[in-house]
């Protein structure tokens, strides 16, 4: 197995007024707070970071969110197309296409196929259901989201793997009389598929479908639990599935432990950007009714709900490291931390390193990911080669 390390930034727009001046950083924040000139400069920085990551041997991960300054990559297939041309070697993972919300899965199949060809077969495709606070801006019925998501996944796979002319599709949510995508993907039968999941039932579902599983900022215990569920569920015919498991963490590498620690402090800021209107966090039907009912009295009073990572914002850097949410320090320290984490979770194949977040200055992010690519990733690859 080749252990792979991916660089990731959400492409944030951190130039916001004090939190007290707005109700929610998601969904309803007016875009009058957005300065396109600053935004253009930010985009340039982010694509430079991705190019640098490619140059130092890292793979690249993109994501997509909507109606929020936490992520300006609102049309990630466009970014993927740019990176397909601007990079040479990196694998390119879009994790993910929010296909529970997108109304044209066939279009998603086309976009990913085009980028796969453009990149010479370097694309990996993440498919995600979406976070709860995006069903409102996408006008996506939360009650049927899960079923719609899985039908979209089936449809996309079918579009990628049908090569004998048009086929029709009459599903519960999508109907087409004539599907015949051009181009088809370069990779056969299609690019690797990733699905992000944070719950035991979700991890089981991903394994049942035989896709790769990505966990995000879960911490050691939860990641171990989800990976174990995946391993025990998937029917891999005896194949080692370690390379099908990915984990996303905050990763800050400095020349010294002090420098890495200080960069970690900058990454931690993103965990605190979590002010979200309660109406957006818990749309009816997104979670099971029994689960929702537990928090109902408080929720109806507008209390007690926060983004799942918000509580991490007040943790010390050492605590975040202990919990496997962040890896920070000198190159050797980060290697040591990740070796420990690797053993604790029973092994995994991909580290998605969020090494730029929120208002972290370009130079610090660039330095961190250069060390990550040149000094950390090769040692991890050697260490986890067996």
């Amino acid at each position: 197995m080749t252990f792979r390390v991916w660089f990731f930034t959400e492409m944030p727009y951190p130039h916001l007024p004090p939190e007290s001046e707005y109700e929610s950083v998601r969904v309803s924040l007016p875009n009058r707070y957005y300065d396109p000139k600053l935004g253009q400069s930010d985009y340039n920085d982010y694509f430079e970071l991705y190019k640098l990551a490619d140059a130092v041997g890292l793979d690249l991960m993109l994501n997509e969110h909507h109606s929020t300054p936490t992520c300006m990559d609102v049309a990630a297939p466009i970014s993927l197309g740019i990176l397909a041309r601007e990079t040479k070697h990196a694998r390119l993972l879009l994790l993910g296409n929010p296909v529970g919300n997108r109304r044209e899965p066939v279009r998603v199949a086309e976009e990913m196929a085009m980028c796969d060809v453009l990149s010479g077969g370097r694309v990996e495709v993440g498919l995600v259901r979406s976070v709860p606070y995006e069903v409102t801006p996408q006008n996506s019925n939360p009650v049927t989201l899960r079923a719609r998501f899985w039908e979209a996944v089936d449809l996309i796979q079918h579009a990628w793997t049908s090569h004998d002319g048009p086929f029709a599709w009459q599903g519960e949510f999508f109907e087409h009389r004539h599907i015949n995508i051009w181009p088809r993907p370069m990779q056969t039968p299609h690019p690797p598929i990733w699905i992000a999941s944070q719950s035991p039932s979700g991890a089981r579902e991903v394994a049942e479908h035989g896709f790769k599983l990505a966990c995000i900022l879960n911490g050691t215990q939860r990641a171990k639990e989800l990976f174990e569920i995946y391993r025990s569920t998937i029917d891999a015919g005896g194949r080692d599935v370690t390379s099908d498991l990915g984990y996303t963490a905050l990763v800050a590498v400095g020349e010294t432990d002090r420098e890495g620690h200080d960069a970690g402090v900058l990454l931690r800021e993103m965990l605190g950007v979590s002010k979200i209107g309660p109406q957006f966090l818990d749309p009816p039907g997104y979670a099971d009714a029994r689960q929702r009912a537990v928090a109902f009295p408080g929720r109806l009073k507008g209390e007690g709900l926060s983004r799942s990572v918000a509580h991490m914002a007040t943790m010390s850097i050492d605590e975040l490291i202990d919990r496997g949410i962040m890896f920070a320090g000198s190159p050797q320290t980060v290697v040591d931390q990740l070796q420990r984490f690797y053993k604790q979770v029973g092994g995994f194949g991909h580290l998605v390193a969020e090494s730029h977040a929120w208002a972290m200055p370009f130079d610090i992010a660039a330095s961190s990911l250069r060390l990550l690519g040149e000094q950390v990733a090769p040692r991890l690859a050697d260490s986890f080669a067996e």
Binding site: S28, N141, T144, E172, P278, G302
Partner: protein, 261 residues
């Protein structure tokens, strides 16, 4: 009649006397007990509870309130030998209209309390406050009058866990049917002329869920000459919770007048 509805509609009955059918609103029978009790002093009140609001799960074969109305048509045809008065509150009033544009002979008269479901907006704005985009306090503000009513948020504090699950399932069911198109059937306005039944549209003058203060009168006009409106002064959209006695009296008066006509 067939099992098509008996296996999917849970029906509770209250009181004694001539039959009326009560079609529940967004929260099912929760919070409508006072109105049902007052009606039950005069009638046998039949309360069919839709899948999703009862122990029965939502049925993927029914994707709209219009679809759901066929289940209720089966129930009305199978349960009663002659047309019965039908009362609907909010979402239930929408359901009553969907039933009666399809068949004119299952209901004898309609009592529509704070109806929704009819699109009347002419400027592409929503007909109703977007409950999925405002805070819980904002939802209460839209649904209740400003007279210090005990809102669903207040009353939820006293519910036991089973009722909280019922309320969560009810919210899920409302989202299933009302997310898009938002709380209305775009075709329904053009079909209301088919109802042709004595109908009373009862509404609160402080209904802040509707975007257009003349919404209820517009529905009355679309229903035609058999329809009348009855305003409850100061009532909010949930006037059937806030002022059950006044709503019950308005319904009784309408039914009595109609019966003696």
């Amino acid at each position: 009649m067939s099992d098509s509805w008996t296996n999917r509609l849970a029906v509770t009955r209250h009181g004694d006397g001539d039959a009326v059918v009560f079609l529940h609103g967004e929260d099912g029978l929760l919070f409508s007990e006072d109105l049902i009790s007052r009606l039950a002093e005069h009638f046998t009140v039949h309360c069919p509870i839709a899948p999703g609001w009862s122990d029965h799960d939502l049925d993927s074969q029914q994707k709209s309130i219009g679809d759901l109305s066929y289940l209720y048509l089966d129930m009305l045809e199978g349960s009663f030998n002659s047309p019965v008065p039908v009362i609907g509150v909010s979402l239930g009033a929408w359901l009553a209209l969907e039933i009666c544009v399809k068949r004119r002979d299952v209901a004898s008269r309609l009592g529509l309390v704070s109806p929704v479901g009819v699109g009347t907006s002419t400027d592409r704005s929503l007909d109703f406050v977007d409950i999925y985009a405002v805070s819980p306090a904002g939802v209460d503000q839209a649904l209740y009058s400003a007279h210090g009513s005990r809102t669903r948020s207040d009353r939820a504090q006293d519910l036991d866990q089973d009722d909280l699950v019922r309320l969560a399932r009810a919210e899920q069911s409302v989202a299933y049917y009302c997310w898009e198109p938002y709380f209305h059937n775009p075709q329904l306005a053009g079909l209301l002329h088919r109802v042709q039944l004595p109908t009373c549209v009862i509404y609160g003058t402080a209904d802040r869920f509707v975007s257009d203060p003349s919404y209820h009168h517009k529905i009355g006009a679309l229903l035609g000459e058999n329809a009348q409106t009855c305003a409850i002064d100061g009532g909010g959209h949930r006037v059937f919770e806030e002022s059950p006695e006044q709503v019950a009296n308005a319904l009784l008066q309408f039914f009595t007048l109609d019966a003696s006509a």
